[in-house]
Symmetry: C2
Subunit: 198 residues, 2 copies
C-alpha cells in the first residue's frame, strides 16, 4: 500500500517521459493515479512542484551514486573508469527520470532551475577534476579537459535514449565497452611520446 504522493510521482515520471512535461496535464496524472485532479494539490502545491520533485531526487541520487562508487579510489584512471561506470549504470537504471532531467529543465521557475543546474554543474565538476588530475600527472593525453568532460558525459548520458531492456547487450556490457573505448581515447597513443609505455 504505497502512499499517494509516491503514486503521483511515479505516474508523473511515466507521463513526462512518454508525452513530455508540457503535453501532460494534471488531469492525466490524476486519472492514472486514480484520484480527482484537485486531490493532486493536497500533495503538491502546483504542477511544477511535481517536476521539481522528480528532478531533485534524480540529481541527488545521481550524485550520491557517484560518491559511493568513488570511495577509496586513488588514481585518475581508476576514478574515471568508476565514474563512467556509475554514470552509465544510473542512466540505464533510472532511464525515464534522467531523460526528463535532460529535457524538461525549461519547465522550472528561475530559482528551481538554478537549484537543479547547480547540482548538475557540481556533478560535472567532479568528472573535470578527475580528468585534470589525470592530464596533469601524465596518465591521460594532453587535451581540453572541460570539452572532453562534456563529451564523455553526454556520450554516456545518451545511453538512456537508446538502451533497450530486451536488447542485445546488458547494461554491464555497455558500460564495459564504453569504459574501454573512452580510456583508450584518454590514454597516450602509440603516436605520441612513449615514456610511459614499454
Amino acid at each position: 500500500m504505497p502512499n499517494m504522493k509516491d503514486t503521483i510521482k511515479t505516474v508523473a515520471i511515466d507521463l513526462f517521459y512518454k508525452k513530455s512535461y508540457f503535453a501532460s496535464g494534471i488531469s492525466d496524472i490524476a486519472r492514472l493515479a486514480g484520484i480527482q485532479k484537485s486531490s493532486i494539490y493536497y500533495h503538491y502545491s502546483n504542477k511544477e512542484d511535481i517536476l521539481f520533485d522528480i528532478l531533485n531526487t534524480t540529481m541527488l541520487d545521481l550524485n550520491s551514486s557517484l560518491n559511493q562508487r568513488l570511495e577509496g579510489l586513488k588514481t585518475a584512471e581508476e576514478k574515471i573508469q568508476a565514474a563512467i561506470e556509475s554514470h552509465i549504470l544510473f542512466h540505464i537504471e533510472r532511464q525515464k527520470e534522467v531523460i526528463i532531467a535532460d529535457s524538461e529543465l525549461r519547465g522550472l521557475s528561475i530559482e528551481n532551475y538554478k537549484t537543479i543546474t547547480k547540482m548538475r554543474d557540481d556533478y560535472e565538476g567532479k568528472f573535470q577534476k578527475i580528468l585534470k588530475k589525470g592530464i596533469d600527472d601524465g596518465s591521460f593525453i594532453k587535451t581540453d579537459y572541460k570539452i572532453i568532460s562534456y563529451g564523455i558525459l553526454t556520450m554516456c548520458t545518451a545511453v538512456c535514449l537508446w538502451f533497450d531492456q530486451k536488447g542485445r547487450l546488458s547494461k554491464d556490457e555497455i558500460a564495459r565497452i564504453y569504459k574501454g573505448f573512452l580510456i583508450n581515447g584518454l590514454k597516450k597513443s602509440h603516436r605520441s611520446n612513449s615514456r610511459h609505455q614499454e
Copy 2:
C-alpha cells in the same frame, strides 16, 4: 523582404528552442511573426505541420551536408574524421533546429514520426558502415560498432547543448579536439598488437 512562411518558421524555431514545442502556442508564434494567429493557417495546415517542416528540412540538410563532406574520400579513417567534423559543425551552425530535432519528436503523429526517424536511422547507418569497414580492415580496434556509433554521434550531437558562440573555443577547435579524441579511441592503442605501428 522575406516571405511570411519563412518568418513563421524562423520564429517557431526560436520559440520551440526556448520554450519547447508544447509550451509554445500558435498565438505566441503569430505575435512574434506580426500577424494574427488565424493567418498561420494560411501557410501551415496545423501546429504539428510547422514542427514537421522544421524537423524535415533539418534532417535533409544534415544528410546532404554529410554526403557532400564524404565525397571522394577513401579510407575509413578519413571518412570517419570527415563525418565527425560534418556532424559537429552542423550541430553548432544549426544549434536551435537540432535541439528541437532531438527533443520534440513526441510532438509528431505516427506517420510523420516514422518519416523523421527513418531519415535519422539512415544517417546513423552511414556512420556505422564507416566504422564497420574500419574495424574489418584493421584500422580501428575491434569493438561493437553499433554501440560506438551511438556514442560518437550522441557525443558530437550534444555539442549543440553547451556550445557558446562567445565562448572560449571556436567551432573548428571543438571539431579538432573531438576528432582527435575519438580517432585516438578508435585506433589501436599501445597495449594491443602493434603490427600496424612502427
